[in-house]
């Protein structure tokens, strides 16, 4: 695992609670909003299971600590998106909270329904970018969620030991978390990739 320069993290009174919201004006029309909300709920919950940080849905987009949206091309942050594949998404380090996905991708919530060769698993990318929002940089461990690349039609959503050790170095451990719980979950990533 790795951190950004200066090891930035969210500094809040314990327990840390961060709110998030999806931009109402920057969503993907072919995705159901309830599917997208479910995906982000699950992605945030994976991280909160291992660190003493709670994520809640903000009442308004403007008030959210973490602001999520789908954008196309040059969207004003100096890091324009490049169309289908290439760069899939990016997020800012703490305590900025901006989290952007490339609207040009063929975002998939279920590979059984989406047969596109270029389909990208939204939940995998969401889980990865939340790692950046929390302060993790890219990992060299290929199996880790924080590895920088993700092939189309691949699902990688379960945190690996490398991800967990990295984020716990920033925030400490969730008292309910046990490393032994990681082992059985991790077989899922590989199984879906083979599928």
């Amino acid at each position: 695992f790795a951190f950004f320069n200066g090891k930035p993290r969210w500094v809040r009174q314990n327990p840390v609670t961060l709110s998030y919201a999806l931009s109402p004006n920057n969503m993907i029309s072919y995705l159901s909003s309830s599917d997208v909300q479910d995906i982000f709920r699950r992605a945030f919950s994976r991280w909160s299971a291992v660190i003493p940080v709670n994520f809640t849905e903000a009442e308004t987009y403007e008030s959210a600590d973490i602001k999520i949206g789908f954008y196309r091309g040059d969207h004003g942050d100096g890091e324009p998106f490049d169309g289908v594949l290439g760069v899939l998404a990016h997020a800012f380090s703490p305590e900025n909270g901006r989290f952007h996905l490339d609207a040009a991708e063929s975002w998939a919530v279920d590979f059984k329904k989406d047969k596109s060769k270029a389909a990208v698993d939204l939940e995998s990318v969401a889980t990865h970018e939340i790692g950046h929002v929390l302060g993790l940089a890219h990992s060299s461990v290929k199996e880790a969620v924080m590895y920088p690349s993700l092939s189309p039609r691949t699902k990688k959503v379960d945190l690996r030991i490398d991800d967990v050790e990295g984020v716990q170095a920033l925030y400490g451990s969730n008292p309910n978390f046990k490393f032994s719980s990681l082992q059985s979950e991790n077989s899922y990533n590989h199984a879906v990739a083979l599928d």
Binding site: N5, L88, H90, A91, G97
Partner: protein, 113 residues
């Protein structure tokens, strides 16, 4: 999923990629001293993701680029060959996160608002 190190896999990968990084396949097996038209674009890729500090690039596979390539291969847990082998080209054309791989650079000009 792109796993193998064969050229066949590169072809399969390109089927689903747009033109963004697709052209980088033509640099397959290039090594130090090579001069291939368009190599500066590949150097821009390495610059963008934190492996090359300068932004004024030529089409020559020079020692600076070789160092950057070696660092890239090491960072992405690829075989460290210093050449643009098939594993490396597969990694380069694979879709990825836009955040720099260099932890020395703060991601995307982060500021507190």
């Amino acid at each position: 999923r792109i796993l193998s190190n064969s050229v066949t896999v590169l072809t399969a990968a390109s089927d689903v990629h747009n033109a963004t990084w697709h052209d980088f396949e033509r640099f397959l097996d290039a090594g130090r001293g090579s001069q291939v038209s368009g190599m500066s674009e590949l150097k821009n890729y390495f610059h963008r993701f934190g492996y090359l500090p300068n932004s004024n690039f030529t089409d020559i596979f020079d020692t600076d680029f070789e160092s950057a390539l070696t660092l890239y291969q090491s960072k992405l847990s690829l075989p460290v060959t210093g050449r643009l082998d098939s594993d490396t080209i597969s990694a380069i054309i694979s879709p990825r996160c836009g955040v720099s791989d260099s932890s020395q650079r703060t991601a995307l000009h982060a500021t507190r608002r």
